[in-house]
Amino acid sequence: MVDLFHNLGLGFGVAFSPINLMLCLIGALVGTLVGVLPGIGTIATVAMLLPITFGLPPVGALIMLAGIYYGAQYGGSTTSILVNIPGEATSVVTTLDGFQMAKQGRAGPALAIAAIGSFFAGCVATVLIAVLGAPLTKLALAFGPAEYFSLMVLGLIFAVVLAKGSVLKAIAMIVFGLLLSMVGSDIETGASRMAFNIPELADGLGFATVAMGVFGFAEIIRNLDAGAEMDRDLVQQKITGLMPTRKDLKDSFPAICRGTVLGSILGILPGGGAVIASFAAYTLEKKIAKDPSRFGRGAIEGVAAPESANNAAAQTSFIPLLTLGIPPNAVMALMVGAMTIHGIVPGPQVMQKQPELVWGMIASMWIGNLMLIVINLPLVGIWVRLLRVPYRLMFPSIVIFCAIGIYSINNAPVDVVLAGAFGLVGYWLIKHDFEPAPLLLGMVLGPLMEENLRRALLISRGDWSVFLTRPLSAVLMAIAAFLLVLALLPTLRKKRDEVFVESES
């Protein structure tokens, strides 16, 4: 316990330095901006802005990237409520009740509850990271290669279970991602694999390149399909009465708590993440409500729960990265990229060797959340005005920004072309109802999985049963198998589809 306060103290000491406060503010603002603009997601932004952080000290770079990440969760909810356009996938469900509230002239309370819920969730998640950090790091030391491999299998299965649509297709996407991660030099022998003697491929396909293609360019191309002119029926009336009433607070407080708990759990699990958390929280609220018919007609719980959940999940997803060195989702994988550039290998040793880095970032998240709640409500007007920028002007700008961002990571024009090619691949995937998110997760975990699989088998002298004979690994594998069976069971699948259909309509 003393350790905990000592660590947090250290963290706040680092985070409160003027330069880090500045970076935190910039990150949160940029994140909100991106969150507000539809058609450009968090993953593409973090990839795009990665080069910007090269010149910063490591702590500053991570603080800023983290700020972008959770800032985007905030921004997305603002547009969901005001104009019925989710700026981010994480706030899709917020549109259901948030926009209805806005139509009833209660946009102010909806925004305030979203902000309060997010802040509360952020506080809890920050404490959770601090509390869980040390014990999980110890657990990580008990992990051998077999356990790491099994944990990653579990994470991938989770991603499959939680993905929407066909289980088969989701698994195929993961395997495709794993295969893509094999391009480049072999880690053990150094042999060039599937690189066709292209020097730029010798180092492997850049994760940022693929992410930018599949999530950035593909998204733009797909939006153009629908016609650049998206109808945006803005809420025109003035936002009055920002403060929620006492009844609002009373109604939403339990929802915020449930959302936070659910979000924190789903954030920690690899393959989970903020999108799933918000869907799950909304479904839960609807299930346990006394009068479910209120949902979709402006129920304040329908705003409070998903917004708390996505923010909690966004933050707790740092836990596996910082303690086990496993990135649980694509954004975290980009954070690994940022860390590697600064010479930091994420994992248990970072916590011990560079405590000021880890705790500084954790403390900055709390400060960032506080900043967001203070700056965001007054800025709502500006964000709404931004949405009036027509897409026909916005998309070429996004293309240019993405191109410059990709180019400046390695100063390699080939990377830009590759990102473009993956944009077309991503467009094709969307057209065939394949989800790109599991593909990226596969690509993220691919190198780690292969390394640990090889090592585990080397240690066991080629005996594959090692994954089932080591107790920890066996438990993880059993959970994975159980989940896979559940996902394949037709009854559950039907239900799962229902959940998604319901929340999308």
Partner: protein, 166 residues
């Protein structure tokens, strides 16, 4: 993720026994990718003794993808599914052209020309572009990028054509 509703313009290409063309074609494409990966990694060393060679893991996952792709294609044959979605050509073509033109011109011609040209090319991606407005925004964006990336962020980007600088 709403696809443009399947107008099924490509229906006549598919033989009648394929009930879910979207899955069928998708699965076949994955099979093709897997075969390509198998071929591409065929020159790599396999298992020796009980330790993995460089080619073991890629081949393992390629075979897995092959099986999954085939399974998806079979599902496409057996079960009723959506038709192939309608592909637009304009957006993909001009956005790709813009990306390629950026990649080709950034080294020799510098950021200013490269960014502006790519902006205009990608604006061709939609018929709704109004030229006067687009050119003004393009100029502003180019100026903004030229100040932001090399100066404010200190990235080593060349602004003007190489032959002019030297």
């Amino acid at each position: 993720m709403s696809d443009s509703p399947g107008h099924a313009p490509v229906k006549y290409i598919m033989p009648k026994w394929v009930r879910g063309p979207q899955d069928f074609v998708g699965g076949l494409a994955l099979v093709a990718i897997a075969l390509f990966a198998l071929w591409a990694s065929s020159d790599l060393q396999g298992m020796h003794g009980f330790s993995f060679g460089a080619g073991t893991a890629p081949r393992m996952f390629a075979v897995l993808l092959l099986a999954l792709g085939a399974a998806i294609a079979v599902v496409g044959i057996v079960t009723e599914g959506p038709h192939l979605a309608h592909y637009a050509w304009r957006g993909p073509l001009f956005v790709s052209l813009a990306i390629v033109s950026f990649a080709i011109t950034i080294r020799p011609l510098g950021l200013v020309i490269s960014a502006f040209v790519s902006f205009i090319v990608s604006a061709l991606g939609t018929p709704e572009t109004r030229w006067r407005e687009t050119i003004i925004v393009g100029i502003c964006l180019t100026i903004g990028c030229s100040l932001l990336f090399p100066y404010a962020l200190g990235l080593p980007l060349q602004l003007f054509p190489r032959f002019l600088v030297q």
